[in-house]
Every structure is written in structure tokens, then in C-alpha cells.
Amino acid sequence: MISNASGFCRRLVSALTAGALLFVLMPSALAGNELKGLWTLRITIPESPTSATSRTFTVTMDVSPRGDSLHGRANITDQSGNTVGVAWRQVGKNVSIAYELPCPGDGPCASLIMLGKVKGGGLLIKKGSVIVVWDTPNDRNPSLFDTANGSFRGDRLQ
């Protein structure tokens, strides 16, 4: 009986130690649902204003703490090494991430507004939606520019 209790205690202590170690080794565990930290975003949007074909690209987003502000800043770096600024806001789990696509070439450029929810204890953004505002004017669109929808997913790196 005593040896059973002792074994249970040892297992409990081991489990608690493992849990504490995991907590300490994962900074995100302390971050809760706050967006701050390093993320990889996988974004899918149409190739162009007139294309029915989508393209998927991955960017890295380094999110600075926002302190007491409702808004925060971040940097996004694409796979070509272009880095641009980001403005973001968050209420609870809901985040909005806005940035201007880096468009070094002559192709159509756009602004992206990404809406999603931080889930999994702050580890991921699943089923995020993207509003794409292209640079091409369109009098028949309420925004007066071509728009499109896309999707994105975010995974915390740090």
C-alpha cells in the first residue's frame, strides 16, 4: 500500500516536472493567444485580378509586442528576402493583419487584410481569411478596385 502511494507520488512529481519543463521551454505557452512572436504564414490568393488560378506562398512574420496599445507592428519577409511592414490588431483570439505586398516586378500588386483566430494556446491560426485589394481600378466594385478572397494559415515558430 505504502509502496503504491510512493510510486504514485513519484509519477505525479515526474509528470509535474515534465509539464513545468514543457512550459518553460515553450515561450508560446506564456504568450497565451497574443500574436507577438515569430510566425510562418502560408497564404493562398489568386495569381492576378483576372486569374482563376491561385498561388500559395509562405512568409515569415516577426511580431513585436504591442504593449498597452490596441495595435502592433510586425515585419513580414517573403521567400525572396523582401521585408515589409505590417500593422495588426487583436481582440481576444481575433486578429487582423494588414500589409502591402512587396511587388518588385511589373506584375499586379495588392494590399492584403488577413483575418483569423489565434488558437491552440497561441500556436496557430487556422482557416484565416484574406481580403485582397488589387491595384487595378474597377468602377463596378464597391471599393473601386478589383478585390478577391484568399485564405491563410499561421504556425508559431517562437
Binding site: 511592414g85 495588426w88 481575433n94 502591402e100 485589394v133 471599393s143
Partner: protein
């Protein structure tokens, strides 16, 4: 006999060469930048003062400050009239004489819908801009192509002269 035409041709060539660097400044490429402070006045398009779902931002003058550090182009709207810490953030880019900026709306309450702003415009001059702003509210609207409540209005902006104190509103 042949000297006069040659002299005239020579003078014409000299004239053209002399005029080339100085003439027609309007055709020279000007690199525009939003960097600096701007007072932006907005107004309704075709009397549309609200979004289809009844949301509005009103038409306050906006005191906007844009900065550039390398490739990082950031913006901030100064709204000390609303609160000391009210500083909506944004980003921007310039393509020739056109520009695009994207801002987040400042929504202190958890209840109402929030949104983001996309400004599209062009430089009328180095110190004057005009264009349209579109608010994409976080409110579903299936009648809109994006699926979100959308409201567009126009704006005109004037650069605050360096050294001047821009009032915020």
C-alpha cells in the same frame, strides 16, 4: 554659299542640346514619397455617408504621419483629440505617382465591429495627394464581392510643411 545652311543646322543642334537638360521639367521622373506629415480631409462619394450595413467613420480631418526606414514604410494616425494613446497604425508603398496605404481601425470596445482601411491615391504634386479610402469592416455582407461590409469615400491630403505644427483632429 553652303555656309549659311550649315551654320543654321549647327545652331539648331546647339539649341536642342542646350535645351534638353533644362527644358520640360514635367517629363522628368519625380520620386514621390509619403514620408512626412499630412492633413487628410475626406468626403462622401455620391452622398454615401455610411456603409451598406450602416457603419461610418465620419469625416474628421486626419493627421497622418508616414515614415520610411529602408524598405519598412510605416504610418500612424495622430488622434490625440480622442485619447493620448490612440494611434492607429498602418503601412504604405509608392508606385510612380500612385500610392497605397493600409491601416487598422482603432476599436476600443469589444462589442462593435472593427475593420481595416485601404487608401489608394496619387500625388497631384509632391505636397498634395488625392484618392479614395475603403473601409473593410469585420462584418459579413454577402452582397459585397469580398463578403465583408465595405464603404468607400474620397480624400484630399496636403503635406504639412517641415517645421510647421500640424493640428490633429
Amino acid at each position: 554659299m553652303f555656309r549659311a545652311p550649315r551654320l543654321v543646322a549647327f545652331l539648331v543642334i546647339c539649341f536642342c542640346v542646350a535645351q534638353a537638360p533644362a527644358g520640360r521639367p514635367g517629363t522628368l521622373q519625380t520620386e514621390f514619397s509619403l514620408a512626412g506629415e499630412w492633413i487628410v480631409k475626406s468626403s462622401a462619394i455620391n452622398g454615401q455617408t455610411h456603409s451598406p450595413r450602416g457603419l461610418t467613420l465620419g469625416f474628421p480631418d486626419r493627421d497622418m504621419l508616414f515614415e520610411q526606414q529602408g524598405d519598412l514604410r510605416t504610418g500612424i494616425v495622430l488622434r490625440e483629440d480622442v485619447g493620448q494613446n490612440v494611434k492607429p497604425l498602418g503601412v504604405w508603398r509608392v508606385m510612380g505617382d500612385q500610392f497605397s496605404t493600409t491601416f487598422q481601425l482603432w476599436c476600443p470596445g469589444d462589442n462593435g465591429p472593427c475593420g481595416s482601411i485601404v487608401m489608394r491615391g496619387r500625388f497631384v504634386r509632391d505636397d498634395k495627394i488625392s484618392g479614395t479610402m475603403t473601409a473593410f469592416f469585420d462584418l459579413p455582407d454577402n452582397s459585397n464581392p469580398t463578403g465583408y461590409d465595405t464603404w468607400t469615400f474620397s480624400f484630399v491630403g496636403n503635406r504639412v510643411a517641415t517645421g510647421a505644427t500640424g493640428g490633429s483632429n
